[in-house]
Symmetry: C2
Subunit: 266 residues, 2 copies
């Protein structure tokens, strides 16, 4: 597949080399920040930086939008694609329908559309992530595009799913809970220890063991512990009193504890 990347951030950094290693050909990389596209191109075989969003003369068939959700519509409105192009976005939170609508409005030629969502968190780094264990959630505007995306997905990953935009939304909300919110709880826990001149390192072993247990369980509910799980209202009251001078954190503690108590009928 002849491919161009629009966006040279964390995802493109890992996905472009993975596609090349699977035998695909990256022609062009566009980024608002030329330095980013230059960096990415330097890791690819013979891709070039592309300085604008006019791809009318591009040799590529597949155009991969790897930009932030906020930038998607703006990019689509300025994008010029060749005949018979396939345009996919890589977002967990945006529907396929929206992309179809935008291209119906903004594009002079008909465009095949799709979603190529890699359910993983990416950070630019020295090494490239192996994609074979990363779930790919695919969706397409038509059967031919779907088959092309599935084939390309299977070239790089063992876990390829056809997922509707609604299902992808559920996965995205679930990932926000299980990933973004959990990481923020680590931040809040760290601040509590630091405030009392304690070392966050004291908590690392119990956090590591909790994560290990939670992921090893077929259902994390089986290994839930703590005062809310036990319905230990005395400890919950003590903790809320301890947090009295941080009302926002106390509210968060209350809401999470209520959710646990409700879940286990305590």
């Amino acid at each position: 597949m002849e491919i161009s990347f629009i966006g040279a951030g964390n995802l493109a950094w890992h996905l472009a080399p993975a596609l090349e290693n699977a035998g695909h050909h990256i022609n062009e990389v566009f980024s608002r920040q030329l330095q980013h596209s230059r960096q990415l191109v330097s890791n690819l075989f013979d891709a070039h930086t592309h300085s604008d969003l006019n791809f009318a003369d591009s040799p590529s068939r597949l155009f991969i939008l790897a930009v932030s959700d906020d930038a998607l519509e703006n990019v689509c409105s300025r994008l010029v694609l060749p005949e018979d192009a396939i345009l996919v976005h890589t977002s967990g939170g945006q529907s396929l329908q929206l992309l179809e609508q935008w291209m119906a409005i903004y594009s002079d030629v008909p465009v095949h559309t799709g979603v190529f969502y890699a359910l993983q968190t990416f950070t630019k780094g020295l090494s490239f992530m192996a994609f074979d264990e990363i779930p790919l959630c695919l969706e397409a505007s038509d059967k031919e595009t779907e088959e092309l995306l599935v084939q390309m997905g299977q070239n790089i990953s063992d876990i390829v799913y056809l997922i509707t935009s609604e299902e992808r939304q559920a996965l995205h909300v679930a990932a926000v809970l299980a990933c973004n919110f959990t990481n923020h709880l680590l931040t809040l826990a760290r601040e509590l220890t630091i405030r009392d001149d304690l070392e966050f390192d004291l908590l690392r072993p119990i956090i590591a063991e909790t994560f290990r247990k939670g992921l090893a369980a077929s259902n994390p509910a089986d290994v839930q512990t703590g005062p809310a799980r036990r319905g230990d209202l005395t400890t919950i009251e003590n903790h809320l009193a301890f947090l009295a001078d941080q009302p926002k954190l106390a509210e968060l503690y209350q809401v999470m504890s209520d959710s646990i108590r409700h879940h286990y009928g305590k």
Copy 2:
């Protein structure tokens, strides 16, 4: 040290063998459920089950309370200890002062008191946890007891801290946030996927990678991602709309997102 355990639950299951391996001697194990004390005793050299809370004739010096917080006062009120005994609890959430007060009320003889809090989550299992990497948070009513507990702690762990009850409270609240609440978020994420007939396994790679990054960072805030971190209000609104039929979960989503936005000024 000659030791008796009061309680034969998850902590005692791991701590008693660890103390034996370090050369200490477990004489007796009491549990309300005889089956539990029998199980634990079967893993120890020559300990016996003890059928009541009268330890007046016990050869032990140290008595380790390894019971749930809720049961602590009731157990203390019925406990009969020999002269010059040391009584420690193993709870993250209870103060040393409370134990001192209870024993002043309930015990006929003066008792040295202390706290021997292992900052880890324990589950009975086939193998025993190595204690050398588990932080021990110790506290004692007097200098001699403190020295004995520190020495015993250092026999089994490389990470021994003298921690006040207030500091232990901060650690305990932080551990509830970073461990109990995070595990519950995994449960909630699993339910969202199952509700849409999706497999929770799809989320395991991104959760594992998030945890890896969060624990590898010196500050988890450095690797925070997601719509709230970006201040992406459109996605947050979409997610809240998606959760409209689950008001409690929507409230939790809102409170967590607000906390993240507030933290990063978004």
